[in-house]
């Protein structure tokens, strides 16, 4: 390919932004007072608190996978296999938490089940206790919050797996004399194994990288992400770097192990396949029980989010020791427009997310083009670099950027960005490369490359072919990826907390400071604004995609 400059440029940018900063982290972890030393690592592996954090990260992640699976899988079966009134709407609602930024989910949980949460106080009152019946802190609290938000991955993946599943395999098993239980355990569940593995991987990586839940509910409980934050804030630079290296290594190690499991476990349906028919519920008790369990479970899962909406109407000082707030008004929402303390972060987040996403769209389009259409050596390396930010926790990326872009050495590709407006858009951009690139890759794979040849044969050059053929065809899928990236950047918290400046603080940081000031109403209102912006983006996005050509049915 004669577009060597394009390959070179994309590679250079990826190496500079995705790989290069981590070398500084690695370097700083062994470069102590001007000399090479493994002291940091020795200290890490001999300090009980550090080992506790490492162990904490691992068992919380494993526990989150198990709990999320126990919640998500049965729910998916319930909503895809049985037909009952309200199935469609509640089935869709159950997937809703995937849209919410983790921090918003965490504070919603706090308003409901926290020490002074509505549910906790109700229980206290009902039982006539003097103290709240529980304090939501420590490992179990983190685990609970994780399961509450991450069941969605199991729910969505299992539902998708069930939809793809060839029902004739189960029918064949039944015709061979297998009972229902046997069919489920010997045919259906093994065939869903790829879905379970994919969801496990996602949950594991997400909880490994999780910061919001341990930060807010951890109490004294240590995990690596919060430990890095604490070390960095208290100025223990070497320790912060060592912890970052350990977290990155553990994440990549588990990713490697889990993806080895995944390999060779894709079951393609042999032959055309039949979609499973939904079972109509026949027995009377089941007809009552299944919808009650299903809808009930969804309501319980959505309760924190409803609480968030409720609390957003509570003015400051109107909810102190009562079970439910005493007054509701629109003050918090008015404040969003009148109080610069509140609307500046919204404006900041909108700006920064938009800049980052715009860059993602252009850059990831080019990456995907090269990965899908290009013929050159090093494609595997390009793909690895592209996906690397997905495997690395946001904390790791933020620390790496903080180290790299805090010095001015233009010859080494370093400029001072820390403390400027640009560091956060850069972090969002890097973190969202895998997401947007994946969407673009899928879109490029969806249309026949012969269309590009047709364009060339009609006299269009490369740029014209991109503009008139590739971009319009890739756009619907790319836009959805961009939308997801924009939404993620809008609510980003993990990297932001390590990199923000007061002037360009994003929404998530403001939510945190409102919580610290015990203005729960304002924090909730900001959370609701985030959720609303996301819902809006998806409503618009859905329409855009439906109008597009990639997914639209043939017209006429």
């Amino acid at each position: 390919m004669s577009r060597a400059w394009l390959v070179g440029g994309v590679f250079a940018l990826l190496v500079w932004l995705v790989l290069y900063p981590h070398l500084f982290v690695l370097g700083d972890s062994v470069w102590i007072d001007g000399a090479l030393s493994l002291d940091g690592y020795r200290r890490f592996f001999t300090t009980p608190a550090e080992l506790e954090a490492l162990w904490g990260s691992v068992w919380i992640s494993v526990g989150s996978v198990i709990l999320s699976a126990l919640m998500g899988i049965p729910l998916a079966f319930l909503f895809t296999r049985f037909d009952f009134p309200g199935r469609t709407i509640f089935g869709a609602l159950a997937a809703l938490p995937v849209l919410l930024p983790p921090l918003v989910g965490v504070i919603a949980f706090m308003f409901l089940y926290g020490e002074s949460g509505i549910f906790t106080r109700s229980a206290q009152a009902a039982l006539g206790l003097e103290r709240p019946p529980w304090r939501l802190v420590g490992g179990w609290a983190i685990l609970l919050v994780h399961a509450y938000s991450m069941y969605v991955y199991f729910y969505l993946f299992t539902a998708a797996g069930l939809a793809r599943l060839d029902a004739s395999a189960a029918e064949a098993a039944e015709s061979l004399g297998a009972g229902r239980w046997r069919t489920l355990t010997r045919v259906t569940l093994p065939m869903l194994a790829p879905s379970f593995l994919a969801a496990s991987l996602l949950v594991f990586m997400t909880s490994m990288a999780s910061f919001s839940a341990p930060y807010i509910f951890g109490g004294g409980f240590r995990v690596l992400t919060t430990q890095i934050f604490a070390s960095k804030v208290s100025g223990q630079v070497t320790m912060a770097m060592v912890e970052t290296v350990v977290l990155a290594t553990v994440s990549l190690l588990f990713l490697w192990i889990l993806s080895r499991f995944q390999r060779g476990r894709e079951f393609a349906a042999v032959g055309k396949g039949v979609a499973a028919a939904r079972t109509e519920i026949r027995s009377t008790w089941a007809r009552v029980l299944i919808p009650v369990v299903g809808i009930g479970a969804v309501l319980v899962l959505l309760l924190p989010h409803l609480t968030l909406v409720l609390v957003s109407f509570v003015p400051e000082g109107a909810w102190t020791i009562q079970i439910l707030p005493t007054r509701y008004d629109l003050d918090n929402y008015r404040g969003l427009f009148s109080n610069p303390q509140l609307w500046v972060p919204i404006w900041n987040s909108l700006q920064m997310a938009t800049i980052a996403t715009a860059a993602n769209l252009v850059f990831c389009f080019l990456i995907a083009y090269l990965l899908v259409r290009g013929r050159f050596r090093g494609k595997g390396a390009l793909l690895t670099l592209t996906m690397l930010p997905w495997a690395l926790p946001g904390t790791v990326i933020a620390v790496a950027l903080a180290v790299t872009f805090s010095a001015n050495q233009p010859w080494f590709g370093r400029w001072v960005l820390v403390g400027s407006f640009w560091i956060l858009p850069l972090a969002y951009f890097i973190r969202n490369i895998p997401l947007v690139a994946q969407a673009a890759i899928a879109s490029f794979r969806q249309y026949d490359p012969v269309l590009e040849e047709a364009s060339q044969s009609l006299g269009a050059g490369w740029t014209e072919t991109m503009r008139r053929v590739a971009v319009p065809l890739v756009l619907p899928g790319l836009a959805v990826g961009g939308l997801l990236a924009w939404v993620a950047a809008l609510g980003e918290f993990v990297s932001s907390i390590l990199l923000y400046t007061h002037r360009s603080r994003p929404i998530s940081i403001e939510i945190l400071s409102q919580l610290r000031a015990f203005d729960f109403g304002a924090a909730a209102a900001l959370g609701v604004v985030l959720a609303a912006l996301m819902t809006l983006a998806f409503a618009l996005g859905g329409r855009f995609v439906r109008g597009g050509v990639a997914t639209g049915p043939p017209r006429g």
Binding site: Y447, D448, V450, L451, E453, A454, S455, Q456, S457, L458, G459, A460, G461, E464, R468, V469, P472, L473, V549, P554, R555, G556
Partner: protein
């Protein structure tokens, strides 16, 4: 020659897709590359279109070396197998695509799109979405799109293979009429021999990346240069034969004026004079194959050189009736192992004992056996 391909070679890894290909097209000529799948015909077309660059060899167009030119610089019109219509553009914009690339004024674009669509009988479909069209209509839009840029050379990559049989035959006639009317030089790729014969002035038969024979359909059918070409041109009986061994030390040339070959059941057939060269090339004792088309065999009661057998099947095929005759002790390569005869008249029914032999003036083709030592 308007297009000259000289020694073009294209490798993909270890596979040589196109191997030292030579091909020349005269102005206004309709030429087809014909061959089984994997023979390199599509790669050859893509080399000419500019989507592939040859590892060796040159491509000249109108006396200019275009080997290194990009497809858009060559400006050849191309119709793709799956049409490659732009799904995000309507019929008008699809046809206008190349004209917009050429920055033609809007008025000209409108009239030329209309003209192109009129030619393929689709005027009035301008605003339709391409997905809403039938397969045949899509194929015509693809053709109109390629014609709209008034290409000096039209390349067609199996453009009819996605149509159903009846439509394919009709479109064939329309396509040839249109190309001839516009006096366009066209290069067509197909694996369908009937299609190639129907459309082309000349046909190039390809195998293993090389052109084995190029000529008019009639030349290929009547005088194939090798067994592969003969077999690809239509139904054919393949009889393993050998040259009868004469006295020791006898040279092929001194075996007499009458070239004769021995069938596997011992019967000897005399070859027509045009097979003398092939006969002489065959070494004594070494096997060969004798190819005879079904219509060159006939029921003959008169000849003592006739094969004796029994009709096993009789199938009515319109103008011809096709018979399968089982001859004891006679090997027939491939197919049913029976001798196929085609006759214009309705002859003996299944179960009848018959005698068959070459009709007078029949063309028999002698080739060396593919497997040595047979």
């Amino acid at each position: 020659m308007i297009l000259e391909v000289a020694g073009a070679t294209r490798r993909f890894g270890d596979v040589v897709a196109v191997d030292r290909l030579d091909l020349g097209l005269r102005r206004g000529e309709f030429v087809t590359l014909l061959g089984p799948s994997g023979c390199g015909k599509t790669t050859a077309l893509r080399l000419i279109a500019g989507f592939e660059t040859p590892d060796a060899g040159r491509i000249r167009f109108e006396d200019t070396d275009v080997t290194a030119w990009s497809p858009q610089r060559r400006g050849f019109g191309m119709v793709f197998q799956n049409y490659a219509l732009f799904p995000h553009l309507n019929v008008f914009e699809n046809v206008a695509f190349g004209l917009r690339s050429r920055k033609r004024p809007a008025e000209e674009i409108r009239s030329r799109v209309r003209e192109a669509l009129e030619r393929v009988d689709l005027d009035g479909y301008q605003e339709r979405a391409v997905q809403a069209l039938s397969g045949g209509q899509q194929q015509r839009v693809a053709l109109a799109r390629a014609l709209a840029i008034e290409p000096a050379l039209l390349l067609l990559d199996e453009p009819l293979s996605n149509l159903d049989q009846a439509l394919r035959v009709r479109t064939r006639a329309e396509l040839r009429a249109l190309v001839k009317e516009l006096e366009i030089t066209a290069l067509f790729v197909t694996h369908d021999q009937e299609e190639a014969f129907d459309l082309s002035d000349r046909v190039a038969v390809m195998r293993d990346g090389r052109i084995r024979q190029i000529g008019t359909p009639r030349e290929l059918y009547e005088n194939p240069v090798e067994r592969f070409v003969a077999a690809f041109m239509g139904r054919v009986n393949v009889f393993p034969v050998r040259v009868p061994t004469g006295r020791a030390g006898e040279s092929p040339a001194s075996r007499g004026r009458e070239p004769r070959v021995e069938l596997s059941n011992g019967l000897r057939w005399t070859l027509p004079g045009d097979q003398m060269d092939a006969y002489e090339r065959l070494e004594p004792g070494r096997g060969g194959v004798l190819l005879v088309r079904p219509e060159d065999l006939a029921f003959r009661d008169d000849s003592d050189r006739a094969l004796s057998g029994m009709v096993r099947d009789r199938r009515f095929r319109g103008a011809l009736t096709l018979y399968q005759v089982e001859v004891e002790g006679l090997d027939v390569d491939g197919g049913s192992g029976r001798v196929e005869i085609a006759s214009a008249s309705l002859g003996p029914s299944a179960g009848t004992r018959v005698r068959i032999g070459p009709r007078p003036g029949a063309r028999l083709h002698l080739f060396p056996s593919d497997e040595p030592g047979r």
